[in-house]
Every structure is written in C-alpha cells, then in structure tokens.
Symmetry: C2
Subunit: 437 residues, 2 copies
Amino acid sequence: MSMQLNETHDPSLTSWVASANDAGSDFPIQNLPFGAFRRAGSAEAFRGGVAIGDQVLDLAALGAAATAFTDEARDALSLANRDSLNGLMAAGPAAWSALRLALSRLLRSGAEQLPQALVPQSNAEFTVPARIGDYTDFYTSIHHATTVGRLFRPDEPLLPNYKWVPIGYHGRASSIGVSGQSFPRPKGQTRPANGAAEPHFGPCRRLDYELEVGVFIGTGNADGDSIPVAEAEAHVFGLCLLNDWSARDLQAWEYQPLGPFLAKNFATTISPWIVTTEALAPYRAAWTRDAADPQPLPYLDYPALRDSGAFDIELEVLLRTAAMRDQNVPAAPLSRSNFRDGYWSVAQMVAHHTVNGCGLRPGDLLGSGTMSGPEPESAGSLLELSGGGKTSIMLPNGEQRTFLEDGDTVVLRGRAVRPGLPRIGFGEAAGTVLPAR
Amino acid sequence: MSMQLNETHDPSLTSWVASANDAGSDFPIQNLPFGAFRRAGSAEAFRGGVAIGDQVLDLAALGAAATAFTDEARDALSLANRDSLNGLMAAGPAAWSALRLALSRLLRSGAEQLPQALVPQSNAEFTVPARIGDYTDFYTSIHHATTVGRLFRPDEPLLPNYKWVPIGYHGRASSIGVSGQSFPRPKGQTRPANGAAEPHFGPCRRLDYELEVGVFIGTGNADGDSIPVAEAEAHVFGLCLLNDWSARDLQAWEYQPLGPFLAKNFATTISPWIVTTEALAPYRAAWTRDAADPQPLPYLDYPALRDSGAFDIELEVLLRTAAMRDQNVPAAPLSRSNFRDGYWSVAQMVAHHTVNGCGLRPGDLLGSGTMSGPEPESAGSLLELSGGGKTSIMLPNGEQRTFLEDGDTVVLRGRAVRPGLPRIGFGEAAGTVLPAR
C-alpha cells in the first residue's frame, strides 16, 4: 500500500537479455515474476525461476554470481531455488524486496552475462509454483455479481449482504493446475427437465470459464489472530491469472444451500508466473465506489484504500477452438476487463478472511472472483456474455459459442500498463477442455 | 462393503494390555485405531500409534518384534511410523489389513509383551493424523437438513435437490485441529438489526457445535477419473469424530449465494483416532429410506447399499462449562444420535465427490455433516436443540444454554455397539471456546 518505488522500478532500466527490452514483452526487467520450472521433457527437479524476456532465469544456477548478493538476498535466493516457493513466500516483504533488487542488478545491461543460467521459456515446463494448502475464491466484481444475480433473481440481482461482506467460499486445492492444464468435461446431475421426475445425469452442457486474478499469500497469521486491513498487503506475495472453470448446469442444481461444489472443483488453471506486489507498485489505481455505496465497516477501511487500493491490470480472455487450430487462425478475443473495477480490494479480502481468526498460510491462494467490467462486452464469463446461454457469440472464423465445446482452449492474459512505463505482464493461463470420459 | 470378517474381529480375543480387556474401554484389541502422537511436553517427533486400552502402541518402537511380520505388514509399518499417516493411507486396503493382522497378533494375550513400546494415553500428545490436503463437508442427515431448513424456509424445509444430490462444500483444511483444540470466539459481521442501516460487527453471539463423523480418504483417484460407487469404500481408510464449529449469526448473513465461509473456517476439531473400516465391518447396518424416497441415480447405487451401506455408530455430545469444571461435576449430555441414520452413505459421498473427475488424495477428509436423528433430542447442534435460539436448554447444574459461552468445552464421543461383540470406540473430540480477542 505504502510501497515506495525504488531503483527496480526505474523505467529506463534495460537488460542484457535482449528480448526483455522488446516493448511487447510481458517480462521486462521491471517485472521479474516468480515461478517454478524445469526443462521440458526432462526428469529434472522443478526449481524457482524468474521470467526475463523470453527466458527463464534459473535461480538454482546462479552459482558464483550470487556471491555479490547481500546476505538477505542470498538467504532469499536459497529459499527461492526449491521446487515450490512456499519458503520464499514465508520469508516476508524485506526478503522478497532484497532478492528482487539483487536480481534486477544481476540482469541489467552492463552486468556480467550469465547465459548458463537462462532457459528459453519455450523450452520450459512449469508447475504450480507453491504447495497451496487452502484455496479461497471471492466474488469481488459487483458487475459480475449483478449480471449473474439478474439471471437467477430478476427482482433482486444483488443480495443485501453484497455491499458489506466480501463474499467468498473455499475451493478445491488439489485440482489447481498451471497453464497448459487439460481436463475431461465434468459429468454430473442437472435439474430435472420440465415435467421430468428425475434429474438429468451426463456430461456438463454449460461449461464456462471465469476470468480471475489470483492472490498468493506470503506471510501468514497465527490461528486466532486477525490481520488488520492496513497491514494486509504486506502479507501478499503477488498476483497471478486464474481461470475458475465452472459447470453452470451442475452449479444451478447443486448450489443451494451450501454453495458451488462439483460445478467448480474439477479444475482451476493459473498462470505459471506470480507478479509481485512490489513490481506492481507503479500501477496502483484509485479504488472507487458509487457515491450511494456504503462506506466499508472499520475493519475493511484504511487510509490508502481510496487513493491506491486497486491495481490497474488489463485482463483479457481468448478462445482457441479445435477448428481454429486446424485452420491455423489466431485465437478469438472474448472479453476484456480490468482488475481495478473490483468492488473489494486485495487488502480487504485478506482482512475479511482473517477477521474471525482464520489462519492463512504461505502459499495459500485467493481468487478475486470473475472480473467483469461495467460494459456488457467486459463480462468475464460466457454465462454473462451469452445472457445465460440465450445468445450465441459469433467467432471470427464463423463458429459460434454459447458455452465451451470439447477441444476449446481458453487463454487468459493480463498486463499492467501506464503511460511512460514499460508494461509488465502475467504471461498466459491456458487450459483445454477434453471430451467427457 | 464386501469386507469379510477375519481373525482380528474374533470377539473372544483379549490383549496382554490388561486395560484393553475392560468392557468399558473404547479400545479393545478388535479396534486398533490409528493416530499420530508423542510424549506430552516432549520435543519428540510425532509418529504413528495405535490405541490399545488406555495405552498407545508406539509404531516406531516395535524394534525386533516386527521381524515376525509379513513383508507386506512390515512395509505398511514403515509407512505408519511417520509423523503423518498419509503414506499408510496411500498404500491401500491390502496393506492396511496386513498391518492390522500383524498388530492384532502382536497385542494378543500370550504374545511376547512389549512394555517399552507402550505410552499411556494420559501421557500422550496428539496431532492431526494426516496432512489434510482438502477438506469437504457434506450434509447427509436429512433430519438435520429438514430441521434447519424449517428455521429458514418454513414452507419448504427440504430443497428439491436434497433427495438426489449428496450436498457438500469445501471447508478449510488449515484450521482442523485435534481433540484439545481451543480457539477464540470468532468475530464478524451479522445481519443489520431491525431498523439499522449497517450490519453489526463484533464477537459471534450464536456459536454452535456440529456433531459429525469424519471420513479419511486412503487411496485417491487420478484427476479426471471417477470412483465407481461399488468400489468407493476401498478408498476409505477409516472414520473419526468431527466437530464442525459454526457461528450461526455470521452464517445467516454471509451464506448467500456461495455458502458458509467465515462461519465455519475458524476451527474444526477431530478425534485423534481413526477407526478403520475393517475394524467397523461387524457393525455395518442397513441403509434405509422411506418408501416414498426416490431410488438413487445409478452412479450412487450399488448392490451392498441397502443391506450394509451404513455404519451403526452411536454418537454423543457432552458439554463441560467453566462452572462445571469449577464445581467438579460431570459434563452434561446434550444430544445422542446414530451415524446409521444418514440419508447418504460413505460410499455415496466418495462416488459423488469424484463423479465429475475431481481427484481425491490420501489424507483428504470428508465430513458427514451434522448427524441428527429423527427425534428432537437427537439433534446434533444447539441451533436445532434450541429451536433456532428460542428455547434455553437446562443443564443439570442449573446453568442454561441456547448457544455456547466462553469457557465451554464440547466433547464428542462415538462407539460401535453390537450385542455379543465388544464395543469399539473413537475416544473423544473435545474443543474449548476462548473469549474473543
């Protein structure tokens, strides 16, 4: 929140990794996102890496170059070169910042080049970058909540608790996969058809994506303690992209009274890269509400909220169908929105989650909920774009979709953009629907 | 399901651990439940143990006695003497059974006594016996669902999906603690009082317990695959007691539309002991439904369901208030029910959970949901016993309760009982409410 800019944010910095200096790259030297990787097809151990241009800097291969690091940076490096980033996440903001500064200096133009520590991203295989103990999904877009609510309750689209409570629920940790994940179309029960005595059973017929931002918890809190909202962002390691795949027909039948279950827990796809909150400091945005909206309760309010409580991150969904792959045509854009339009901030999610004493752990993942914007075309799901399945979406190659079909690949992208600054991006979170088993 | 009885179930067996032969013991030689323990107050590593009478058999201290084991039992032992039982759980029913047989022979009257491998339970400290990757809570008692539903929807107590879908939701893994757990009263938002513009914020005023049975998953399934219901119980390692502490006032305000969140995730207390499904084989019960209830869909139906789909386990809740501790009077019984009255069976929970391809992992925990029986006094929560907080419950020492007060300890107990057989029990799952922080 009160994150100061430092030399790692200097927009004039360039890297000896030439591809990092391309204006179109998601990974300039000002970004330095963390992930876990190995060489594709190898039996190597996964280890920490940092994206730079089209390369991965192998954090386990810095060798003597790390001897110039500060003690704090070297300690952080030793936590980051493991098969998951939980240790680094637990080390806290000072450690994250020390390592970021050391890596920025290591990768700058003029520093000694370390080609032996680079692996092309095209030759890397990624894994979920942390052991995720618990995964929580929020519902922070009022535009999504209103549009979806209208489909179920035309008279009362937004429930009375929405503007007071950052609504969330627990999701499934074991089915979270990294970009490249594929999964069979889920099977399950759906509501009895008109006149039918029994529910229908079979493959989902209304399979959807949800465009979300993921929040990786860094340092946790002791069970029974709450994290004050003004301190909440210091507990956040960074952000990623997250696709909360959803089976709408299963969901409509199962979700009362205890919420979504089989409709969501078969797969969740995240980007391999976690962009740190320090990297995002220059891309903070005002957190805005309508004048008629209530002020947050004190445990959800803090001085920096209105000025810089949000993150300005452009989000995008693309669809690549099997036919598009065959035709070798580009993926079709489906929706665009911006993370800054969330009704609840990242800090508010963390403070709310812990206000009852619930302990968060390093590596826990929070989802923002579907990030839909105020315009119809900025909806972050097919359920919204198709008006509840009533309207087909025309794709550039002549295909149509209301919901996802087998063979469809959904690609999420995200990038923070500000005039005069390099853009810093998240790469992709791509996932593919396979036929039902 | 088709579990055969074997020599470990022989009711005439006795143990050289004399306390195991007491008729009142939860832990005769026919039980042999698994847990993870160390000597209280020590810095020892936690390791696997088996309850026998008032002792723990230390599975890391069998030494030469294990040389007489079969290879399969010795392999299983090496997986069971660790700080969590996940390895043993993953090994599968043949391994579990081989180890059980070996331990039964080791502990029988006439076998060489191994006093050096015993630790008194009164001198043991327990931990959650598995690393729980994901925790799912079901809602399998139709009596609970009906009574609670009536409080919220007098016209439609049971929702249309209930008799078709084994309703469940994901809970919080990190706040699951073992018997002896204590936690501060959770704080949070509750519905605005009549006429108030804002929600109330403060310590929960309607804190409750829920009497449940926990199901520990043994072998899991590959992501994307389903576990057929007829094979489901082979994936279950065993059962425990589970208290799903619930903040009813937080729940009523937050739970729409995505289900319970802060109302449940601050604490969940389980018994230290997991009673294996093999130990419970002689205590199977018929699974019954009303004639008017629909037949389960095919993916939830299997031949053994009606004869022996249920487990006959008597469940009990006791309350020990701070005043009772001061007065040194016994804990007061609050409710009694039986696990056999569940509308959905353990096998149905597992089959439903995986029908969409969701992968279960060794050590995952499923809760049954509150086990309330058909009679009002067999309700498994204060919400039900107090008619939604309208009626006070008189305690034998003159105190009253509608919901829990600070200092209250709730104790769950459970035991399988059958005429002519020794009773086998679960010990206790006790937890204590501390004042809000």
